[in-house]
């Protein structure tokens, strides 16, 4: 049963299917729209970033400290959990909105400094060192001399469309979502347009899949729409398994209603009445947030049967992915939902013709679907002519590795890599030298400093022999070893290769072996071992070509990207490992030489006691020495030494 309150919102949505609902729609104040919009509040609101990244950084402890702080002082405040704004490296982020004042964000709020920050802000002074920025709060006085958060270096070059509400609005409040424009595109579409028109529109705005390949979404949608079938399915792929890519999780946690809306529009456009969200099992918070959002959407009659008397039915269910990298491939994903091993199959028939249980099925990445309502809001149907040719939209990227600012950002397509690396990411930590940027996960590419002026979009990167991938961007500095990274990615792929195609199953393992050989001890050797290793590198290229040519799915076809691109760019580094038996970054532990600085060593014997190989000798209170022949380079002594007396040569 739909409650009376929900009925009013449905009515508002029906009338006002273009603009966000404003306080004018609620003259008697019955709905409390002003409160829902977080304008003209009567008691202070404390917003806490409770995304997974915030929680790992300790947001729960911060919250406990804040609750205690306000309890002791008997101050009545409202707590509001929000998702992640994107600047994960500055979490826990806490916002404060005092009545009549603009909302203001603080970063790195931990239990130790929470009381000081709150004390200051509640007495109207701003603790500048923790400021992230203030928000544009309507009907509220801005804080003087406090920058807006959009002016922060991390946010300045961004164009936040899909992420617009993440970290700002409450993910668990559908009313707040609706008054800020949520579900408007969906209602407008199902009440006013036919599915073909939506497909035409998606083609006109040139929406391309954000999962990595950039395949036009309209092609899939139209095929599924035109294929006859009693039952059709829409699957939203949120099984992002690239290490370092967590855009889907952030959207699910921060703005689940946008995902529901995008899925609902897509389902309508292809004529599906059943939609499935396929989400990673580790995403407990995201799943909980989505479950709550789905329940609310059902309660407000925005999902279910005959939605707003349009005759359109839709149910969305959540399927938890049991975890396999290859399930990012659509046929493998479908096979996993059917209860089998997630192995890809030959295409055609394409899933849009014959997918889940043999029915026409469209599989889209979560980001692609979340883009749909925002596109519709910016360029309404019927006004496609006003759309600039080749709208490329935005891409969500995650920044990790050695970046100063780490987290998740949304950039306009075509922004240069330099702007991403030195602008948004803020450069390299500890002022180290930039070495390379790795795009995408294990199947991605690395690019060196000379490629920094490339435009970050599907086509320019493809021309440069790279790919946008999932959007994960890892920054590497001089202290990172390219071989070690290639080895890491290769081992990942060995584990994740599904085993269907022999070249991928065996080939990736052999490639990993070759890389292991290059980075293994002994450091000094006789005979032909050096030659063997060099032969290995030459085989690496051949092997990569075979795997690429003979694998069925994207995993195999892209398995060698990371190795080949780093081999191309950093061949010298490979040769160093092979001939000089040296890792210039000092990462490959087997090739390390440690030496104890006799001036600094106090003879505390700690390293000698911890050394698993008993390779350190020396008596108490006298400098110690490392027996090089025995040392395996594990680095335990280096980690344990309290006097920084052990150096890596």
């Amino acid at each position: 049963m739909i409650s009376e309150r929900a009925q009013i919102f449905r009515q508002l949505l029906r009338q006002d299917a273009q603009l966000p609902i404003s306080a004018h729609d609620d003259p008697e104040g019955k709905l409390g729209l002003s409160r829902i919009r977080r304008e003209r509040i009567s008691k202070p609101i404390i917003y806490i970033g409770m995304g997974s990244c915030g929680q790992i950084a300790g947001a729960k402890k911060t919250e406990e400290a804040l609750i205690e702080y306000f309890n002791i002082r008997d101050i009545d405040v409202e707590f509001q959990h929000v998702g992640c704004m994107g600047l994960c490296s500055q979490e826990p982020i806490v916002d404060v909105q005092l009545p009549g004042k603009a909302r203001i964000s603080f970063c790195k709020v931990d239990p130790d400094n929470a009381a000081d920050i709150m004390g200051a802000i509640f007495s109207n002074t701003v603790p500048m060192e923790h400021i992230l920025g203030q928000h544009h709060t309507p009907y509220a006085e801005a804080w003087s001399q406090v920058p807006f958060w959009e002016e922060h270096r991390f946010f300045r070059k961004q164009k936040r469309v899909v992420l617009a509400n993440c970290g700002i609005l409450a993910p668990d409040d559908i009313e707040q979502c609706i008054v800020h424009g949520g579900y408007h595109s969906f209602i407008k579409v199902i009440l006013g347009y036919r599915p073909e028109q939506v497909c035409n529109y998606i083609e006109a705005v040139n929406l391309r899949g954000r999962g990595g390949s950039g395949f036009p979404a309209a092609v899939k949608w139209r095929t599924a729409l035109n294929t006859a079938g009693e039952q059709k399915f829409l699957i939203c792929n949120a099984d992002e398994s690239d290490p370092g890519a967590f855009m889907g999780r952030t959207i699910l946690e921060g703005d689940p209603h946008k995902v529901i809306e995008g899925m609902a529009i897509a389902a309508y456009a292809i004529g599906a009445t059943k939609a499935i969200l396929f989400v990673r099992q580790e995403y407990h918070n995201a799943i909980a947030s989505m479950n709550k959002a789905l329940k609310q959407a059902m309660e407000y009659g925005l999902l279910g049967s005959d939605i707003l008397d349009s005759g359109f039915d839709l149910t969305i269910t959540i399927r938890i992915s049991p975890g396999a990298f290859v399930c990012g491939e659509e046929t493998a994903l479908i096979s996993s939902i059917e209860g089998r091993r997630g192995m890809p199959r030959n295409k055609p028939p394409y899933p849009a013709e014959q997918g889940l249980f043999g029915c026409p099925t469209v599989v889209n990445n979560l980001e692609t679907l979340a883009m749909v309502p925002s596109l519709l809001a910016m360029y309404p149907i019927g006004q496609q002519d006003t759309v600039p040719p080749a709208v490329l939209g935005t891409k969500i990227i995650t920044l990790s590795g050695k970046a100063v600012n780490q987290g998740i950002a949304e950039v306009p397509m075509g922004i240069s890599l330099r702007e991403i690396v030195y602008g948004i990411a803020g450069g390299i930590r500890e002022d180290k030298a930039f070495k390379a940027v790795h795009l995408g996960g294990p199947t991605g590419y690395c690019l060196g400093p000379e490629s920094l002026d490339l435009a970050f979009d599907f086509d320019h990167l493809r021309l440069a022999g790279a790919s946008i991938g999932s959007g994960g961007i890892t920054l590497l500095d001089e202290s990172d070893c390219m071989l070690d990274l290639a080895k890491y990615f290769m081992h990942f792929l060995v584990n994740e290769s599904c085993g269907k195609c022999i070249p991928c199953r065996e080939g990736t393992a052999r490639m990993a072996e070759i890389l292991e050989d290059i980075t293994r001890r002994p450091r000094h050797e006789s005979g032909h071992e050096t030659l063997e290793r060099f032969k290995g590198v030459m085989q690496l290229e051949d092997l990569a070509a075979v795997i690429k040519d003979t694998s069925l799915c994207g995993l195999g076809r892209n398995a060698s990207n990371a190795v080949l691109s780093s081999l191309k760019l950093f061949r010298e580094e490979y040769e160093d490992h092979i001939f000089e038996r040296k890792c210039r970054a000092g990462v490959c532990t087997h090739l390390r030489t440690y030496r104890i600085d006799t001036d600094k060593c106090t003879g505390c014997t700690l390293c000698a006691r911890k050394c698993p190989e008993a390779a350190i000798i020396g008596s108490t209170n006298f400098p110690h020495f490392i027996v090089e022949e025995k040392c395996t380079g594990c680095g335990i002594c280096f980690e344990t030494c309290k006097f920084v007396a052990i150096n890596i040569l």
């Binding site: 290490p243 370092g244 580790e282 590795g401 994960g472 990274l485 890491y488 594990c634 335990i636």
Partner: protein
């Protein structure tokens, strides 16, 4: 245990293959791992040979076949955590706690899992012990943590 398993199965009235993974998932949630007995029971319920179920379950990373320890450790193996570690952190953990990934230590105290990227890339290396997170871990801070955990269990 049998009753709880029966209850889980009864929530899937249609005995169909596509319910296999949700059932396995729920069994793991309830018991912490998937036991031989539960695989047999699921097989009977869905009319599938246990070999097939085992084949499907082992394909995926998230299913475990031995129980969790008193302290369940998850070490992030994302790219950022990987490049943040300059030492053999994983080996140290395995050696110190006498446990291998996916397994349970003999004393039943520790189990180790290599987790895919946890998404806290700025704080790596990340280790979680029973959902409590330890960030920017070094061998030294881990050894201290291990001592704490061991003394706590005594």
């Amino acid at each position: 245990m049998a009753e709880e398993l029966e209850f889980i199965l009864s929530q899937y009235p249609r005995h169909q293959r596509d319910k296999l993974l949700p059932i396995l998932n729920e069994v793991q949630q309830a018991f912490g791992y998937i036991s031989e007995a539960s695989i047999a029971a699921i097989g009977q319920y869905l009319g599938l040979p246990t070999s097939k179920i085992y084949g499907v379950a082992t394909f995926y990373d998230n299913f475990r076949f031995s129980s969790k320890g008193k302290f369940h450790l998850r070490l992030c193996r994302g790219t950022s955590c990987h490049i943040a570690v300059k030492t053999k952190l994983q080996e140290t953990i395995e050696k110190t706690l006498a446990v291998r990934p996916g397994e349970l230590s003999r004393d039943g105290l520790f189990s180790l899992e290599l987790a895919p990227c946890m998404g806290a890339c700025g704080l790596g290396p990340v280790l979680s012990v029973n959902e409590e997170y330890y960030t920017q871990l070094t061998i030294e801070s881990f050894l201290k943590l291990a001592d704490n955990l061991k003394s706590f269990s005594n």
